[in-house]
Symmetry: C2
Subunit: 134 residues, 2 copies
DNA sequence: CCCAAAAAGACTATTTATGTCCTGTTTAGT
DNA sequence: ACTAAACAGGACATAAATAGTCTTTTTGGG
């Protein structure tokens, strides 16, 4: 239960590697993929998602590549994980929507709320700066 | 990310319902399934798993059914969840095996260890007695 | 023996995960 | 303008996990 997928794991490895680089230096996807040992085409998809929400900035064409979208200390692990895995949802009833009719009277529900809060809290307190060892 | 499957959700609902019953009263699977709104054949598989590890005790034949294997205050939510979903593994590197060669030098690894510990801690402190409202 | 009830195993359909491949678009440099 | 480098996006493929169903067997009571 509760497992990060490969995609999530790759995403973290990739962006942490990028964070460890100088911020003014664009990185080739091929370099990142090789360095963190991830299939390049797969990592491409992941970085596209990052790019869309501004976690990274991409440059196309010759001399292109990726740079971090913000300073590493301003990007949390939670953001990275949620960018590719979606929100942290320990059970359907914590989505905010009326997913389960039992929610109001259920004694289990608050437990999942607590799990969600705690996990998000842990991941939110870790930044790419910490992870890149800066 | 981190989602309980239907199986896990059904498992909890079923065993919590059972816990709310008098301990000397055997419950029919059909009754439990109807009460917690779960397909009976699916719940059967779940309760077979429970039975194997002693979370519930089953009686076959006429007048058979299920009773809780232990007093409700002695069964934690963690046990129930792990019985059907397997161990709480936020990422492959927290299984104990040498699943990732980067583990020793990885800054992300301790985060997953912490997530695992915290989640298990929350689930372990909740018993069926709490959940059944006893 | 007959019936009730769980155990066990085979089977199926749908969705998710984990990629690959191909084509297009942008851009720097000659 | 042309070319090569590099990301963007979509279609495709395969395998595994999920969410069940169905049938048969075993067990116990009357
Ligand atoms: S934990 Fe309670 S509220 Fe949440 S899905 Fe299960 S029954 Fe519904
Ligand atoms: S978090 Fe670090 S140790 Fe864990 S799987 Fe990823 S790279 Fe390996």
């Amino acid at each position: 239960m509760m497992d990060l997928t490969r995609k999530g794991e790759y995403a973290i490895r990739g962006i942490v590697y990028l964070a460890a680089r100088q911020s003014d230096q664009v990185c080739l996807l091929s370099d990142i993929a090789a360095a963190v040992d991830v299939p390049q085409t797969f990592l491409a998809k992941i970085f596209q998602q990052f790019s869309k929400i501004g976690l990274v900035r991409s440059y196309r064409g010759t001399g292109g590549g990726f740079v971090l979208g913000r300073p590493p200390e301003k990007i949390t692990l939670l953001e990275v994980v949620e960018a590719v895995e979606g929100p942290i949802i320990p059970n359907r009833c914590v989505t905010g929507e009326g997913e389960c009719s039992r929610t109001s009277s259920c004694n289990v529900h608050p437990v999942w709320v607590k799990v969600q809060t705690q996990v998000k809290d842990i991941l939110e307190k870790v930044t790419l700066k910490d992870l890149a060892g800066l």
